[in-house]
């Protein structure tokens, strides 16, 4: 399992192991996932697609659950936490 994938989180390059989810890349970058409706930073709670706290924009598509999406090379991830 030496394979790795490189993506960009808020423009910053991040390398994670192959098969890692976008949520993992966001956390590895030091960012948080989203800003709540009253302005609080949020990151994953459930890790399994239920809580929707891990929403980010992936390749321009907003409101994606990052814990359910695997990283692909050169993905552009925008985390607004």
């Amino acid at each position: 399992m030496s394979e790795s994938v490189s993506v960009r989180v808020n423009g910053k390059p991040v390398t994670v192991r192959a098969g890692a989810t976008v949520a993992v890349a966001v956390l590895a970058s030091g960012a948080t996932c989203r800003t709540s409706v009253t302005g609080q930073p949020r990151s994953p709670l459930c890790g399994m697609g239920t809580c929707f706290e891990c929403r980010v924009a992936i390749n321009g598509e907003p409101q994606r659950r990052s814990c359910q999406v695997l990283c692909e090379a050169n993905m552009e991830i925008e985390a607004n936490g």
Partner: protein, 426 residues
């Protein structure tokens, strides 16, 4: 506009965790076409998440290997969001999917119960299973300080796993009482295979403090978790940590069974000895019928799979095995009841609904879930109340609304592609 895929199976199984995999394999023995539908990127459910990367002879590897070699069609990354008239509507990243079936097996699993306390919305405060899922998905926790808290045997599994991944587990905070925990340990020793598992955990967790009568009262940090204050046998203390992995045992995912019309009993799907629900031809296996763990899920799945393919003999053959593991349901229930003090953790300004940021004090004005929802937006966000509704049920004793499509947020185009029937159903 997205494309619409049409799939048809003799037996459709929803949920590719242990119960669903076992059900699909049993059903496939009959030679009938079997579809296994799951919203995750890979089969395995929560417990076997990332199991593709583990050693070859583990239980999970054996079952996943059997699945890979079978003729079962695995439909991954597909969220089932509607069920009506013998059809399911699902959505994947690139299409809407209509699934028709002869028999349906629901193996929708469980999720963690989360209870609100001050600071629980801080980044790096996660579910216990939540942290484990993220680690299995690639999160590196080597060298991180982790407090595991809440209730139930999952805490031990998570602590052991975290340690194995190089984390420093500072302590395990179990809200149940010491006598209940002790009884739990003794009773589980009598369940086949569980004694070995207990010894294994005891070894893996050696040296890690395991506190009973202990729960988190607040989490602190600037933009992310820095420390947690715990109550331990009446004393509070503060522990610095990088992650708080906190879950209050499991609640069944009964939304899809309810949408299918299955009757519930005490919050779980009511099934007969063949795992058949109140809806003829619809079966249910695993946690939605009672929180009982891996072995029970597997045997219930097999029974459902055989029963759904008219192989009653084979199903019957498994009844004694199921009975042995059904004791786990009772043991768990007796061991981990939530203590009333947990209802007082939320302060007036503590958020209960994380999607819409609705505080505890705003909910106090209402007398029902529906009224609170309409007037405060609680449960109106994308999680559709999956996090806050069970919490509100515990905190306020509210009954939760009926289910409506979509079960999960889906693209409008997928909603528009729900199978509709020529005869209007008024």
């Amino acid at each position: 506009m997205d494309s619409v895929k049409h799939l048809r199976f003799d037996v459709a199984v929803v949920g590719a965790g242990p119960a669903g995999i076992a059900a699909a394999l049993a059903a496939a023995d009959s030679g009938k076409t079997v579809g296994l539908i799951d919203d995750n990127p890979a089969a395995g459910g929560q417990i076997w998440r990332g199991a593709q990367n583990v050693q070859r002879h583990s239980v999970s590897a054996v079952w996943l290997e059997r699945l890979n070699k079978s003729a079962i069609q695995l439909v991954r990354g597909a969220r089932v969001f509607h069920a009506a008239d013998g059809e399911l509507a699902a959505e994947s990243d690139d299409s809407a999917i209509q699934i028709s079936y002869g028999k349906l097996i629901l193996a929708t699993g469980a999720r963690e119960l989360y209870l609100p306390f001050p600071g629980w919305t801080l980044p790096n405060v996660m579910g216990a299973g939540g942290l484990q899922a993220l680690v299995k998905s690639g999160l590196d926790i080597a060298g991180k300080r982790i407090v595991v808290a809440g209730t139930g045997p999952l805490l031990l599994a998570v602590a052991a796993y975290a340690r194995k991944c190089g984390a420093k587990v500072v302590g395990i905070c179990e809200q149940t009482t010491r006598p209940r925990m002790a009884r739990f340990g003794m009773k589980m020793m009598l369940v086949p295979g569980k004694a070995a598992e207990a010894l294994h955990f005891a070894y893996e967790l050696r040296g890690i403090p395991h506190w009973t009568d202990c729960w988190p009262v607040a989490a602190f940090g600037n933009r992310r978790l820095e420390s947690v204050r715990i109550s331990r046998q009446g004393q509070t203390s503060e522990i610095e940590c990088d992650y708080l992995a906190c879950g209050f045992h499991l609640i069944p995912n009964v939304e899809l069974p309810r949408m299918c019309g299955c009757q519930l009993k005490n919050g779980f799907v009511d099934v007969n000895e063949y795992q058949q629900t109140s809806v003829a031809g619809t079966y249910c296996a695993g946690e939605p019928t009672g929180i009982g763990g891996l072995e029970l899920a597997l045997v219930e799945g097999e029974i459902a799979g055989y029963a759904a393919t008219n192989w009653e003999d084979r199903a019957k053959h498994l009844f004694p095995k199921r009975a042995r593991y059904q004791t786990v349901v009772r043991i768990l229930k007796a061991a981990f009841p939530l203590r009333p003090e947990l209802k007082n953790l939320a302060r007036p300004d503590t958020l209960v609904c994380r999607c819409e940021d609705v505080s505890h004090e705003r909910l106090c004005e209402y007398t029902s879930w529906r009224a609170a929802k309409l007037h405060t937006r609680c449960g109106m966000g994308p999680c559709q109340g999956r996090v806050c509704a069970p919490a509100a049920e515990f905190l306020f004793g509210w009954q939760i609304d009926s289910v409506r499509p979509p079960l999960y947020p889906v693209r409008c185009s997928s909603l528009a592609a729900i199978p509709s029937h020529s005869v209007p159903r008024n």
